[in-house]
């Protein structure tokens, strides 16, 4: 039995790096053992995990409820696609551009957002989420619904003929996600990260202690957007091209929902969150093939499960499952 108020042993950056590399190695080995379908799904898990990370950063850590993650992902996706297809740059540069351009966009957005609170911010980000993707219809270079190709190329020849495209996708998305999450986790463990916690727990006290809350919020927006942008780039890599329909409003809602279900205040659950988003349609699929059902049933079941999960999470574990576990100590 643990005593109340246990002390957290601070984990050094080097130790963390080792753990991340170890995890990455595990994933790579795992990638060799599973089929293309699992690799394909795994890539989506990594992508969504990144998306959920951006939500947690923004809403959990800096307390800004945004419904516009899908728009920021779109910005990153288009930036990446344009870099690779139109500018002809290397795919890695393309992904970096996804994060960078989205981050800059988020910075500007954050400057506006910092002045807004609660529902006003929600409304603005909602409007952004529905309007930004439609800009692709306005500017021919963005290709409307046909979109722009996002091609990360074939796996390098030296990996051999058996190295499938899906394994390549998995390597890229898992690696990108790991690097980004490592960066974020480090950031949050630093002094910068501690100011987040201070502001979240007691904004007035934090301000009295000299923390510039406004600047913190803007920074949070920028960083969160960068993460979302990378997630968007990875997403369209998986579907080989970007188009507005890849970023519907429901994507924002799904990410927010998954973040709430797996814990809005900690990054520990992001992989689980990604798994939830990928697994639920699958579970619904197999449920339906087992019990059978009308066409209407098949389509609505995944949505129903996610929504039910969401409500259960809000009612029973509003502060994340972690708190629920802690209560029993």
């Amino acid at each position: 039995m643990k005593k109340a108020g246990k002390v957290h042993k601070p984990i050094t950056t080097r130790k963390r790096l080792f753990l991340f590399v170890l995890f990455g190695w595990l994933l790579l080995i795992l990638g060799d053992r599973v089929g293309d379908l699992e690799l394909y799904q795994g890539s989506f898990v990594a992508t969504y995990a990144l998306g959920i990370t951006s939500v947690i950063l923004l809403t959990g850590y800096s307390g800004q409820l945004s419904l516009g993650q899908s728009a920021l992902m779109a910005v990153g996706a288009y930036a990446g696609a344009l870099s690779i297809f139109n500018a002809g740059w290397h795919p890695v540069i393309g992904l970096i551009m996804s994060a960078l351009v989205a981050g800059v966009f988020g910075l500007v957005l954050g400057l506006v957002a910092a002045r807004l609170s609660g529902p006003y911010l929600a409304g603005t980000t909602l409007a952004l989420a529905i309007s930004l993707p439609t800009l692709a219809n306005q500017f021919p270079i963005l290709g409307a619904e046909e979109g722009i190709v996002f091609d990360v190329g074939l796996p390098p020849a030296r990996f051999g003929d058996d190295f499938s495209q899906y394994k390549w996708f998995f390597w890229i998305s898992a690696l990108a996600a790991l690097i980004m999450v490592f960066f974020i986790v480090n950031l949050l463990s630093s002094r910068f990260g501690r100011t987040f916690k201070a502001v979240r727990d007691n904004p007035v006290a934090a301000q009295l202690a000299g923390i510039n809350v406004g600047r913190l919020k803007v920074n949070a927006f920028a960083i969160s957007s960068g993460v979302a942008g990378l997630s968007g780039g990875l997403l369209v890599m998986l579907i080989s091209g970007v188009s507005p329909s890849a970023f519907p409003l429901s994507l924002s809602f799904s990410l927010l929902g998954a973040a709430v279900v797996t814990g809005l205040y900690s990054l520990k659950g992001v992989i689980l969150g990604g798994l939830v988003l990928v697994a639920i349609p699958e579970i619904a699929d197999s449920l339906v093939s087992r019990i059978g059902g009308s066409e209407g049933f098949t389509t609505v079941l995944p949505g129903f499960i996610v929504s039910a999960l969401l409500i259960l999470a809000v009612v029973f574990t509003p502060n994340g499952p972690g708190h629920l576990l802690k209560k029993h100590h």
């Binding site: 984990i11 795992l30 089929g35 379908l37 799904q41 795994g42 899906y166």
Partner: protein, 430 residues
């Protein structure tokens, strides 16, 4: 943190099922007793409302064949996935068909932007998955270098536009002409066809991104065109739900008799237009093109046979041009599978169509163009006119078949007579 990472790793591992060794790729989806085919197509949404009947019709025909011995002892099953006419969904659904459902071949994929995206995303070329009888007329799909496993069936939009240009030239020489088309390769293929045929519109064609033609927008466009003197010809090159929106806008502005409407075959099914609320007096007189007999033509043996199959194997669904099209493609598919022989492989299937496809029996009134060098399906049209009863009758009274190509070739009248239908609609070819 450490605990969390390890926990996540364990969860990730256990959530992923280890797959078994895959079967030999070239005959994936084939067993001694079954063949698994797949299609990604809109079932819901406004496009699904219009084209949703097609996959069910295909499946009904396959069920009929299965009940009559199948193909070389194998029963055909069809996996249908809904993509809502969205390229993103088509990409993921098609990938699922290949990776998850492990189908042998795709048949009847629908949509230009949807399928071109899906083809790349699902790596159909790399996996050598046959992509048969796609439900789109974009001429780009005949490019073997880009789409090595694709076989078209619809005549290309390019061909259709050239035939339409001839209709305008022959029948409406002095009138102003306008065009409203979907803003993607589907629409631009049509626009290109008019250009190749030497036709110049009075104003450049209005292009709308899919899903954005609202009633308000249609009313605005028609209000402007309504001011043009005479009786302009308005070419509509979009999906049926959009044609309905535009025609209803014409009704609201009382402009239905102001224009001669020329609707592309993709968006001109009379029954569907009526079902979507367009008045029969508006539908009456719309000119279109077709390459099949009309679904209400009970004198046609193929139509009669398909209606029979529909009643028995597709309960509850009213027979119409979409059911006809679905069953027709399914019939072609069965002949292709038969021609490929008992030792069924993906490569074998494709060579069989190249070698024997042009002789397959089908309801189409124009020739099929498959060969070792061509992936073109039907290569022509006859011009139809819709009436208030939801029928498409030959324009001018007499059925004239035009054939052409997707390039600079001229539009010629053809004497083509289609092959006789196999007995009871069950192919016996090999």
């Amino acid at each position: 943190m450490k605990r969390a990472i390890l926990a996540s790793a364990i969860v990730a591992t256990s959530a992923m099922v280890l797959s078994t060794v895959p079967a030999h790729a070239d005959s994936t989806g084939v067993t001694a007793t079954s063949i698994k085919l797949g299609v990604s197509t809109p079932l819901t949404g406004s496009a699904g409302l219009v084209y949703g009947k097609v996959p069910g019709a295909m499946r009904a025909y396959f069920d009929y064949i299965n009940a009559n011995g199948g193909v070389n002892g194998r029963k055909i099953s069809l996996v249908i996935r809904d993509d809502k006419y969205l390229p993103t969904l088509a990409a993921t659904q098609t990938t699922n068909l290949i990776l998850k459902d492990k189908v042998f071949a795709l048949v009847g994929a629908l949509g230009t932007a949807t399928h071109s995206k899906a083809y790349t995303a699902a790596a159909l070329a790399k996996n050598n998955v046959p992509d048969l009888f796609i439900n789109t007329g974009f001429s780009g799909f005949t490019n073997k270098a880009k789409y090595p496993t694709t076989f078209m069936v619809l005549p290309t939009y390019n061909m259709e536009a050239k035939v339409m240009a001839k209709v305008i030239k022959d029948n409406f020489p002095g009138q102003a002409t306008f065009m409203i088309a979907q803003d993607d390769e589907f629409g631009s293929d049509g626009v290109a066809g008019f250009t190749t045929a030497g036709h110049k519109f009075t104003a450049s064609p209005t292009l709308y991104p899919q899903g954005t033609m609202t009633a308000a927008r249609a009313e605005g466009a028609l209000a402007t065109l309504g001011a043009v003197p005479g009786k302009p010809v308005l070419v509509l090159f979009g999906t049926t739900d959009v044609t309905a929106i535009i025609l209803k806008a014409a009704e609201k502005l009382e402009l239905t008799k102001k224009f001669t409407f020329l609707a592309g075959s993709v968006g001109a099914d009379a029954n569907t237009l009526l079902a979507l609320g367009v008045k029969s007096t508006t539908v009456d007189g719309v000119i279109s093109a077709s390459f099949m007999p009309d679904a209400k033509d009970l004198t046609d043996p193929y139509v009669k046979q398909f209606i029979d199959i529909n009643t028995k194997y597709n309960k509850g669904i009213t027979f119409d041009n979409y059911v006809l099209a679905g069953m027709n493609s399914a019939m072609l598919t069965v002949q292709a599978l038969r021609a490929a022989g008992k030792n069924l492989t993906r490569a074998g299937l494709m060579s069989a169509i190249e070698a024997k496809g042009s002789t397959f029996a089908s309801a189409g009134l124009v020739p099929l163009g498959y060969s070792a060098t061509s992936r073109v399906g039907y290569n022509g049209y006859w011009v139809s006119q819709l009436n208030a009863k939801g029928e498409g009758k030959p324009y001018g009274g007499k059925l004239v078949i035009y054939t052409t190509d997707s390039g600079a070739g001229t539009v010629e009248v053809s004497n083509f007579v289609r092959p006789t239908m196999p007995k009871n609609g069950i192919p016996t070819n090999s």
